[in-house]
Symmetry: C3
């Protein structure tokens, strides 16, 4: 093969590796943000952002811009570092895209977690909160940084009552009998149910597609599943 061709292959690979590295850099940056949010570490959070006037925080309650906007938002939450404060926003199920020129990127994440927000004399507001992020990233002097955050809530509720409004929650249905499978009326599957009740407390372990990553041996779920009725 000609030298020229080999060089072209090397150049193509370098570009691909840069894209893969960019994905991992953005993933790490966003997950670091997730961990800095829990107990609120404002300096660390603000240092994740690019140094640009068009840095943007877009919440349903309003928008903040630039370094000063970051300070106005992140600097005003839990300023006394109250240990009863907790803001868990785990970042989950990333979809990350890198621009063709490799200079900017975008990512979508679920945000999900447990909140404990002190409300003065009223006590601590407790909620299970969830929303979606669509964030922008930019490479500044060779380093990937957070550029814009856009967040919309999907639901929030107390652990006990959940997300559906109380007057809309359905009355509990009778539980199906053990091993019974209920299907909706429109259901018209090509093969019927096998009548196996897989769920807790059946003890069923969904077989793994992969052998043990270190020993390379089959794992033990097939033997353990023999006691599950119908398997």
């Amino acid at each position: 093969m000609a030298q020229q061709t080999l060089e072209a292959r090397v150049a193509a690979m370098e570009k691909e590796i840069d894209r893969l590295k960019a994905i991992e850099a953005i993933r790490k940056l966003e997950h670091a943000y997730s961990f800095y949010l829990v107990m609120w570490m404002p300096d660390e959070i603000m240092d994740l952002f690019a140094d640009r006037d068009d840095v943007t925080l877009e919440w349903p309650e309003g928008m903040f811009f630039g370094r000063e906007g970051l300070q106005k938002f992140f600097g005003n939450i839990n300023p006394k570092k109250d240990p009863e404060f907790m803001h868990q926003m785990m970042h989950l199920s990333d979809v990350i895209s890198i621009a063709e020129d490799g200079e900017t990127g975008k990512g979508r994440w679920w945000g999900f977690g447990a909140m404990a927000l002190p409300m003065g004399e009223a006590g601590v507001m407790q909620a299970l909160a969830c929303g979606i992020y669509e964030n922008d990233f930019i490479k500044e002097n060779g380093t990937w940084k957070l550029w814009k955050i856009k967040w919309v809530p999907v639901y929030s509720g107390t652990p006990a009552t959940g997300w559906v409004k109380p007057d809309r929650v359905a009355r509990p249905r009778p539980q199906p009998g053990e091993g019974e499978i209920s299907v909706p009326e429109w259901w018209d599957s090509d093969l019927p149910a096998r009548g196996i009740d897989y769920a807790y407390p059946s003890g069923y372990i969904l077989p793994f597609h992969f052998k043990h990553p270190i020993t390379g041996k089959e794992t033990s779920e097939v033997g353990r599943n023999k006691r599950v009725k119908g398997v």
Copy 2:
């Protein structure tokens, strides 16, 4: 080093890069599926699948095959786009494996999330649902696509009552005193507990193994942890 050898190294790298790209492509595909499921976007979901007769959906309630099977299943859920419907199935903790020939792949994910399923006059059924996916992927004309979905439920329960059957839930135990650590009877650790109560509302921040990803500076948790008793 001989030209031949350099070329062999380039060829080996190209194969490795293809595998890494395949992993990211499958991750993105599956996570897009997760986001299309929430408010049920059936056209987008069906377009994630390969165009093959052996496309398969395997639910405990029955199996569906091919393009027609996809339509029978995905087309019949929330057909009126009721906004009270929500089907959050976050895809989590991926284990992705690419076949040696690079043409097919497999992945395991947790599926976990909040459900709100309108049931006509009865109201909206609300549940925290969880299961495991073992899915297959295939490269079709150079593009990775969903091929087969297999799902089994692990648990599902209302936010208030959880997953253990009510008559089996243990009576609450007395909480340990502040800073007390309780260990089971069989416990025989090589070093004893340090007696630190790390959990909320201690304010403890587990030290980070990584310095700040942008500034490279130490983060501030060590100082903040000084107020936690025993640290």
Copy 3:
């Protein structure tokens, strides 16, 4: 370009690819651990660790070392494989770092999930549990293995009562009216709220930054969002 230079580029790429492969290997190893924990598969779990005396498990309740320590800990939990036992610890939001020499690595994860722990005659203890892992990894004979686990709890609570102590839970506030947005007193955003109520049951779908990964077409959320007030 000189042959020497091309070889240097190839060597640099090989190092980068090794780092990307190490990240994926560690991710897969840790997520396999997550899936082996659910129904407790002690042999599979112990086989994930390096064969070293300094293998370490660090829990708040005490530490275990080496192969014997693994056996003392993992071998003593759910030894009768009680199907009422469930220990779901999903591993989430990874931050993975590889040492410069490529021989060791570290990772931080959320651990989050549903617990069902049989307590003899008292019944089954049910909890939603969450903590953080900071784990170490080492390459042994070319294979990445778990080396050290450090875990601290962040919160644990019953599904009904959550994580805030009952006597500290805030009294419920009146819900804002439909489409109303409440902001805290200190709030001083650069742009005000647009007054859109995005949350369930609005039916709002946060627009995707990416076109459909297979068809490349725009997805349908813009049309569906037209019914949401203010959009």
